[in-house]
């Protein structure tokens, strides 16, 4: 009845947008081996969760913990025998890291402009299904993006204003 004690905890990390489209998906085992099966699972998961703001569900015999913010849906998936709080710690770490990296601006547009930050952050949180780090502070420190979201955005805005003023002149 007991599953083998193991460090392999996370089966997948997903981020979907408010249409249920995949923005990020990382599967760590062969539960859904093909892209087709993965997308079907993501569709199912989105349909079952996007209307409610509860944070945990059981789907396809898997435990799914999730969280949504504005137009983003974050999911961490593990076996139904897994400690739900462990999965929750992964979800919280992911969300908090992004929140810090995006200066609390956790929404689709900001995320898309910082995809490399997201890729690097997930890489620091989970490695091959093993929880690598659960402290958001540590993750942000290790990702160490030099030019943050706001920095680059500000440059863009300044450029745009200059262009507009030139046009006006």
């Amino acid at each position: 009845s007991f599953t083998e004690p193991s460090l392999y905890t996370v089966k997948a990390v997903l981020i979907l947008d408010n249409d249920g489209e995949r923005l990020y998906a990382k599967y760590y085992d062969d539960t859904y081996p093909t892209v087709k099966e993965q997308k079907a699972f993501e569709k199912n998961i989105f349909n079952k969760t996007h209307r409610t703001d509860s944070e945990i569900a059981l789907l396809d015999g898997l435990t799914v913990v999730y969280k949504s913010n504005i137009d983003l849906y974050f999911y961490v998936i593990g076996s139904s025998h897994e400690n739900e709080l462990m999965l929750m710690s992964v979800l919280n770490c992911l969300f908090d890291s992004l929140s810090q990296m995006l200066r609390k601006n956790v929404e689709k547009r900001a995320l898309l402009e910082n995809m490399e930050g997201l890729f690097l952050a997930v890489d620091e949180i989970v490695d091959g299904g093993v929880i690598l780090e659960s402290d958001a502070q540590q993750v942000v420190h290790r990702v160490a993006l030099r030019v943050g979201y706001l920095g680059r955005k500000r440059i863009k805005l300044v450029l745009r204003i200059i262009r507009l003023t030139c046009n006006l002149l």
């Binding site: 690598l132 780090e133 290790r142």
Partner: protein
């Protein structure tokens, strides 16, 4: 002002998702700028991000294009931009399985892994281990060992986790790093501690002693990491389970102690481990249940969910242990998380009283459509358990189930409901008609063939015996018109049963069957023609044999016998009595009521245990001429547990012989036994014909020897006999370490317990779905009746259980269950006596100061009747 621009940008849509319409070919084209000098880190970074984004979306990259991009990327190692370098590591990991020759980056990664930049070292190790094989791993072994004990946590963690991934491929190399992992386990960093523990366990898990030692060390020294504690709890509970450690074991104390940990994660893990331990008693459960009770009112949904899910599991086995939480569970019924609410209600249904059922059911129906199929199945199973507990509530629940049946849902869900209704109908005769009506309505619009055929089968069995059988005909015939072949065939069989049982319906059924004979499918036509011809004979015996009670032989056995018959052409017609009987499957008790992951149904009829024995025995030359195997008994232990030799016996009954199979195990590692036989001394006129020895019985490798006994001819009613058994063998002492035996041996013997052959060994269970028809078919030519007083028996249930186990026959029509508060009961038993004659027993029981039993036995032969009456008396 600034915000306005943003809005406009968003509305125009162009800037909302820069990755939306990425073309793989265009991105790969762009990747050519990797080769430009000087490197433009910002642009290159953006392109790498696009590549990883595409891979992440599931875009397929061909080997050539991937390899090309990969090689271009390697040039970016010349740049010192940190983010760009990190993205290179990611690209390497993502492309490790797609591109060729990824090992080209080994030296760059090794350099980063051992370099000064701490920020590179961890990710470089992870990327390197992703592209490394066993031979290369040995080349970097020195660096890995250093990295494991590195003082920078991210480096140490990366090395430990990567080592864990490598264990599958290079166990022999990684196991040399145990000392380093051991050192890392005493790190101050909580993640390093966790990863080190995980790796250590993985390397040692097959060595129970090492695991025990490791647990002792860590449980005593204490850990900082809650993750590591969870891992320790899992290891401890697994060890407890494997070693059958009692609740006084220090491991159990450790787990119980974790209930007082300051991290909720650890407390929950410990509570869950205790709940899942086998043979947990109420006293050990209590502290675990009370922490779960606390979690029920946590503001965190995940914790409430975890708690109530675990309490639900406890309630299955120990409902009384959860009663204390009823109030907390009541509060969760209205939880906004429907999964939590469902689990709370189903738990309450298990622990609550009869009076609360109506209220809870009403509550569930208010949101049943919002929950996932998995939980719907949980609800159905809870209702099913409730039906057994409170049969008086059947109308409420039947209503509820029929509503659920109408809703949308997958196969597993619908099957659970149908199972539940069918179980219900069988338990409560008064709910039969409503239940059948609901099922009829369901098959009018049912997409699942398996369920439709099952329901049709049930209608055929139960429908004809209801007060108004005619109302089911329409539902059944609709299936013949509308459904697929399998369903049509099942509908034809069901129709035939109505015709066979109800004379006034027969003419109409014949008309309908006539129409089915025009069906486009062979099977449907064949069935219709067959039933048509049987029914037209208007003979009760034929109806019973060919319509109500089908074949009772084992299907693989029939296949084999027919094949054998075609190989050896003979004048004699094929004899059905030569085919082994199907052994009635043991009803599996549904203990696991958690949501089930869909399992594929087995495609072929799996051979039964008896089919396997038949195969094994027919391979032994001495047993060639014995005919078909009639019955194999359950194993009987002939030694106490934990003796030098362990022997158990399986009795195989044939037409005129019994083969005793002795499964022997030698538990002495300094002995090799040879020529092992079990000598048997019968008390009656049984004759031992032959011994088949087990040639060798080495330490811990079970082997079987056989004894062949002929049954007495003179007095066929003398069926029971006691044998005294002695195991005889040649001992050769051997070296316990090498297993090398001595040259010489000596004879020795070992006394076993006595072995009984009883009447049950001569009778095989056979289920007659329609006992009445079978009773008429056999007729009263050899009917005998006798009355017995069972003075020592105090209840009807006890009497029934005794009779069933004594005669070894199959109870029919669910007569093994006595309705509540009844003083009399009729038990119907069916079986086949050795030799192939059906034998039926009707036993009327009356309770008054002990049980009085009137037994009526029918068979087509006199001997079985006499045997039964003689052995009961």
């Amino acid at each position: 002002m600034i915000k306005k621009f943003d809005k406009k940008d968003e509305e125009s849509g162009s800037g909302s998702n820069p990755f939306q319409h990425l073309e793989k070919s265009a991105v790969l084209q762009e990747a050519r700028i990797f080769n430009e000098t000087p490197i433009n880190p910002r642009r290159c970074l953006h392109i790498l991000t696009k590549i990883i984004y595409l891979l992440n979306q599931g875009e397929h990259f061909g080997t050539t294009e991937a390899t090309e991009a990969f090689f271009a990327m390697t040039r970016l190692f010349q740049s010192n931009d940190q983010t760009l370098r990190r993205m290179c590591y990611l690209t390497i990991k993502e492309m490790a399985n797609i591109s060729e020759d990824v090992i080209i980056v080994t030296s760059s990664l090794t350099k980063d892994m051992t370099g000064k930049e701490d920020i590179y070292r961890g990710p470089a190790i992870r990327a390197l281990c992703r592209i490394t094989d066993t031979t290369m791993l040995q080349a970097i072994e020195r660096y890995m060992k250093q990295a494991i004990v590195d003082k920078v946590p991210s480096v140490s963690s990366s090395a430990l986790v990567s080592s864990l991934h490598m264990v599958k491929m290079s166990y022999d190399v990684v196991k040399r790093w145990v000392n380093e992992a051991q050192e890392a386990a005493s790190s101050d960093n909580i993640m390093v501690q966790y990863h080190a523990l995980g790796l250590l366990y993985h390397l040692r898990k097959n060595d129970r002693l090492a695991v025990t030692k490791m647990l002792n060390t860590f449980t005593k020294s204490g850990l900082k990491s809650p993750f590591a504690y969870c891992m320790l709890i899992r290891i401890a509970s697994r060890l407890l389970e494997e070693t059958d450690g009692g609740h006084d074991s220090p491991l159990f104390d450790f787990i119980e102690g974790c209930l007082r940990n300051k991290h909720e994660m650890v407390v929950y893990e410990a509570a869950s481990a205790i709940v899942h331990l086998p043979n947990c008693r109420a006293r050990e459960l209590a502290p675990a249940v009370s922490v779960l009770q606390l979690f029920c009112s946590s503001p965190k949904a995940a914790l409430r969910y975890a708690a109530v899910r675990t309490l639900n599991k406890v309630a299955m086995k120990h409902p009384s242990a959860v009663t204390a939480c009823n109030l907390d569970l009541e509060n969760l019924i209205t939880d906004s998380n429907r999964s939590i609410a469902t689990l709370a209600i189903t738990t309450l249904l298990k622990t609550g009283s009869e009076s609360s059922v109506d209220r809870l059911m009403k509550q569930i129906s208010s949101f049943v459509s919002e929950i996932s199929d998995e939980f719907k199945v949980v609800v159905v199973q809870a209702i099913s358990a409730l039906c057994q507990k409170y049969p008086r509530k059947h109308s409420v629940m039947m209503n509820f189930l029929s509503n659920m049946l109408r809703d949308d849902g997958g196969f597993e869900y619908k099957r659970a409901i149908v199972d539940c209704i069918i179980g219900f109908i069988e338990e409560n005769p008064e709910s039969k008609e409503t239940g059948l009506a609901h099922l009829c309505e369901f098959i009018e619009d049912c997409e699942h063939t398996v369920l439709a055929t099952r329901i049709l089968h049930l209608l055929g069995k139960e429908g004809p015996r209801t007060p108004t059988p005619s109302k089911y005909i329409r539902f059944i015939f609709n299936r013949v018109i509308l459904e697929s072949e399998a369903v049509r065939a099942a509908a034809v069989s069901a129709l035939a049963k109505f015709g066979a049982q109800n004379d006034d319906l027969l003419p109409s059924v014949l008309v309908l069957l006539q129409r089915c004979m025009m069906d486009s499918d062979d099977e449907v036509r064949d069935r219709a023609t067959f039933y048509m011809n049987v029914l037209q004979q208007k003979q009760k015996a034929l109806n019973a044999a060919y319509i109500f009670n089908g074949l009772t032989v084992s299907v693989p056995g029939l296949e084999k016998s027919l094949h054998q018959y075609t190989l050896e052409p003979s004048e004699k017609p094929f004899d059905m009595k030569s085919v082994p009987l199907a052994t009635t499957p043991i009803n599996e008790l549904k203990t696991e009521l958690t949501p089930i992951v869909t399992t594929k149904l087995p495609e072929k009829v799996a051979p039964s245990r008896q089919d396997i024995y038949q195969e094994q025995l027919s391979a032994i030359p001495e047993f060639k001429g014995l005919g078909p195997l009639f019955k194999s008994s359950d194993p009987v232990q002939l030694t106490e547990a934990e003796t030098e030799y362990v022997v158990r016996c399986i009795k195989h009954t044939f037409t005129n012989h019994i083969v005793f199979q002795f499964d022997c195990t030698n538990t002495l590692n300094d002995q090799l036994l040879q020529k092992v036989i079990v000598q048997m001394e019968p008390s009656e006129a049984y004759e031992v014909v032959h011994y088949v020895p087990a040639a060798n019985l080495p330490y811990n490798q079970p082997s079987s020897c056989y004894t062949l006994v002929r049954l007495p001819d003179e007095d066929p009613t003398a069926v029971s006999c006691t044998f005294s058994c002695t195991m005889k063998y040649l001992v050769r002492d051997c070296d316990p370490n090498t297993g090398e035996p001595d040259e010489d041996g000596y004879d020795d013997e070992y006394l076993l317990e006595d072995l009984e052959v009883t009447v049950a060994d001569h009778i095989q269970k056979v289920l007659k779905p329609n006992f009445g028809a079978a009773w008429e078919e056999v007729g009263d030519d050899f009917e005998k009746e006798e009355t017995f007083a069972l003075a020592s028996v105090k209840t009807l249930e006890e009497a029934i259980n005794n009779i069933i186990s004594f005669l070894g026959m199959q109870p029919c029509e669910r007569t093994d269950k006595v309705p509540e508060n009844k003083n009399s009961h009729v038990l119907l038993l069916a079986g086949v006596f050795r030799g192939g004659h059906d034998i039926l027993v009707r036993s009327r029981l009356a309770l008054a100061d002990g049980v009085t039993m009137q037994v009526t036995v029918r068979s087509k032969d006199e001997i079985p009747v006499d045997v039964i009456l003689a052995s009961v008396g």
